[in-house]
C-alpha cells in the first residue's frame, strides 16, 4: 500500500543555511500527524514544501503516489490553514469559505449548500454574513478550517493553528480538530512547538531539530521509549544521567549511574558509556515490589501542580544536576527534608552518549 504522503530525500537550503537536511518520511492514510520542534527546527519549512509554497532544493514529494514536487499549491490535493488564518479581510464569512469553489467555477445553489455544510461542520452556520473583523480569534480559526476543507483536500496542512488562542480555547480547539479529522478521514499535518498539544492530537508524531527528523512514531512510544536525549527532554520533563553498562538481564541492561544501578530498556555493550533518561513520574519516594533503591536525596524545592506535585531534589553522590521527581499532591515532603528515591522497574531508557 502506498503512503498517503511520502517524502524522499527532501532538503532545502537558503544560501549556505540548511533549513532541511534530506528528510525521508512516510505518512499512512487517515492519520493525524504532528510535526513538533523548537523554532528553527525546520517544521514550518517542511509544511511549506508540502503545501507547494517553497520548492525543495532536492528530493521528491508524493501525495497518494503522485509526484507533486513541482506542482503549484493550486494544483496539489492539499490545503493550508495559516497561523494568522489569512482570511480575506474584504469578504464576509460566506465568501471566504466559498472562495475555493468559486475558483473551481462552482457557484449558485450548489456553492451555497456546500458552504452551509462546511459552516455547520465547524459550528458557525449562523455567522455566514459576518464580516471578518467582527469575528473572535476562535471563530476566525474555524472559518479558516472551513475555507480549507471545502475543497476536500487529501491532506490538510495546519501551521501552528492554535498558537494565537488562549489556553482554554486552545484545549477546546484541540478536541474539535481531533474529532473533525476523525469524521473527515483525510490526513491532517499539524505543526506546533507545544509538546502537550502534540501528544493530545497525534496518531503519528514527528520530532524535528536543526532541520532533521530526530524521532518519529506514535506519541506513546516517543514518550516512553525516546530514541534521543533531545526527544526525551523536549517531550515532557526528563532526568538525564550519565552511566556505564555493567550487565544484561534479558531485554534490560544494567547501568551504573551516580544514583546507583538502574535497569534500562535498550541495547548496548557491556562497558559502554551511555546516558539514561528517567522521567519524574518514574522516580518514586516509596519502594514497592518492582522498584530499585537509588541514592537518598534532599528536597530543594516543591511545586504544586494540581493532581501531582513536582519536587526538585539534590541526590547524594556526584550527580551533575538536581533531579525532578513527581510526588503526591498532598503531604509531599517539604523543602529541606530528606527522602529516599526508588526507580520504577524497567521504566528508565537507555540513550546513546
Amino acid at each position: 500500500m502506498t503512503d498517503a504522503v511520502s517524502l524522499t530525500g527532501v532538503a532545502k537550503s537558503y544560501g549556505s543555511t540548511e533549513a532541511l537536511k534530506a528528510l525521508t518520511l512516510g505518512i499512512g492514510a487517515g492519520q493525524y500527524v504532528v510535526l513538533l520542534g523548537p523554532s528553527g527546527s525546520g517544521k514550518t519549512t517542511l509544511l511549506s514544501i508540502l503545501g507547494g509554497f517553497v520548492e525543495p532544493s532536492s528530493g521528491r514529494v508524493f501525495v497518494q503516489g503522485q509526484d507533486v514536487t513541482t506542482l503549484t499549491p493550486a494544483k496539489r490535493p492539499t490545503a493550508t490553514v495559516f497561523q494568522d488564518y489569512a482570511l480575506f479581510p474584504h469578504m464576509n464569512v460566506r465568501d471566504n469559505v466559498a472562495f475555493g469553489l468559486r475558483m473551481r467555477g462552482i457557484s449558485g445553489h450548489k456553492s451555497r449548500a456546500k458552504v452551509m455544510e462546511m459552516l455547520d461542520l465547524v459550528g458557525l452556520a449562523d455567522l455566514a454574513e459576518r464580516r471578518i473583523d467582527q469575528l473572535s480569534g476562535g471563530q476566525r480559526q474555524r472559518i479558516a478550517l472551513a475555507r480549507a476543507l471545502i475543497i476536500e483536500p487529501e491532506v490538510l496542512l495546519l501551521d501552528e493553528p492554535l498558537g494565537a488562542l488562549d489556553l482554554h480555547l486552545r484545549r477546546r480547539m484541540q478536541e474539535e480538530l481531533h474529532q473533525l479529522q476523525r469524521r473527515i478521514g483525510s490526513v491532517f499535518i499539524h505543526v506546533t512547538h507545544d509538546q502537550e498539544e502534540a501528544m493530545n492530537l497525534a496518531d503519528h508524531l514527528v520530532v524535528m531539530r536543526n532541520g532533521a527528523i530526530e524521532d518519529s512514531g506514535p506519541p506513546r512510544r516517543l514518550y516512553l521509549q525516546p530514541a534521543t536525549a533531545f526527544t526525551a527532554t523536549f517531550m515532557g520533563e526528563s532526568n538525564l544521567l550519565k552511566g556505564r553498562i555493567v550487565g544484561r538481564d534479558g531485554d534490560l541492561v544494567e547501568v551504573e549511574t551516580p544514583l546507583g544501578q538502574i535497569p534500562c530498556r535498550g541495547k548496548g555493550d557491556k562497558g559502554a558509556q551511555v546516558r539514561v533518561s528517567l522521567r519524574p513520574e518514574h522516580i518514586l519516594l516509596q519502594a514497592n515490589g518492582r522498584t530499585r533503591a537509588l541514592a537518598r536525596a534532599r528536597v530543594l524545592d516543591l511545586a504544586f501542580q494540581g493532581t501531582r506535585s513536582l519536587l526538585t531534589v539534590e541526590p547524594q553522590g556526584d550527580c551533575e544536576a538536581p533531579l525532578k521527581v513527581s510526588g503526591p499532591a498532598e503531604d509531599a515532603p517539604p523543602p529541606g527534608s530528606e527522602v529516599a528515591l526508588f526507580a520504577e522497574g524497567s521504566r528508565a531508557v537507555l540513550l546513546p552518549m
Binding site: 507547494g52 509554497f53 503549484t72 490545503a79 495559516f82 482570511l87 480575506f88 475555493g100 473583523d133
Partner: protein, 267 residues
Amino acid sequence: MAPSSDRGLLISGAVYGSLAYLFLFSPVLVLLLFSFQDGQLPIPPLKGLTLKWYTQVLADADIMTALVHSLLVALASASLACLMGFLAAYGLARYRLPGGGSLGWLILAPATLSYLIIGMGLMVTFGTIGLPRSLISVVIGHVVINLPIAFTLIYSQLGAHQLNIERAARDLGAGELSLLILIVVPSLLPALVAAFALCFSLSWDEFIIAFLLSQFEVTLPVEIWSNLRSGLNPAINAAGTLVFGLSLGLFLLALTFVLARRGVRND
C-alpha cells in the same frame, strides 16, 4: 481630588497644548475669517461678514479654469503615482530582485529633495529634451514627489499577513489574474485609497513645481500667486479657503482609511 502638583501639570499642559494648536491653525483661521471680509482689504479690523468674495471667485473664469486644471493634474498625478507605487511595492515585496533593497531606497530618494530642486531639475531636463512646459510636465513633476509617498504607504501593507492572504488564495486555486482582481487590490484598497487621497491633496495645493513647469495653462495655486502680485484682496482668501477645504477633506478621508485598516489589524 488630584494632588496640587498634578493639577499644575494638567493646567500647564493644557496651556501649552492650546498655544501649540493656536500657532498651527491661526494662519488658516485668519485666512478663513478675512475671506468673509466686508471691505476691500483682508486685514483687521473685520468690517462685517459677506459671501461676495466667494461669488466673485466662483464667477472668475481664470480661477475656475485654473481650478479645473488643478483637479485634472491632481487626478492624473495621484492615479499615476498610485499605479506606479503599487507596481513597485508589489514587485519589491514579492520578488527577490538583484539589488532589491537599494531599488526601494532609490524610489524614496526624491522625498529627500526640496520641491524647488526637483522643479528646477525637471525644468532644465524638459528644456533640454524639448518638452514644452505644460500641464503634462506638471503632472510628471507631481508624480516625482508623490511616488515615494504612494510606494511607502502601499509597501507597508504588503507584509507577512498580506503574503499569507495571497498564498491562501493561490492554495484555493486562484490564478494570477483572479488573485490580483479578487484578492490583492480589494484587500489593499484601504492603503490604495489613503495613498490616492494623500497624493491628490499634495498635488492639489503644490505651488513651486507647478509654477516652474507650467506656462500658459496654470494650476490654481499658480493662479492665486499671480493674483497676489496685483495686491491683497479678500477674493484670494476665498480661493485659498476653497483650496484648503478640499485638501482637508481629502486628508481626513485618507486618515479614516488608514485608521480603519489599523483597527482591523489590532483586533
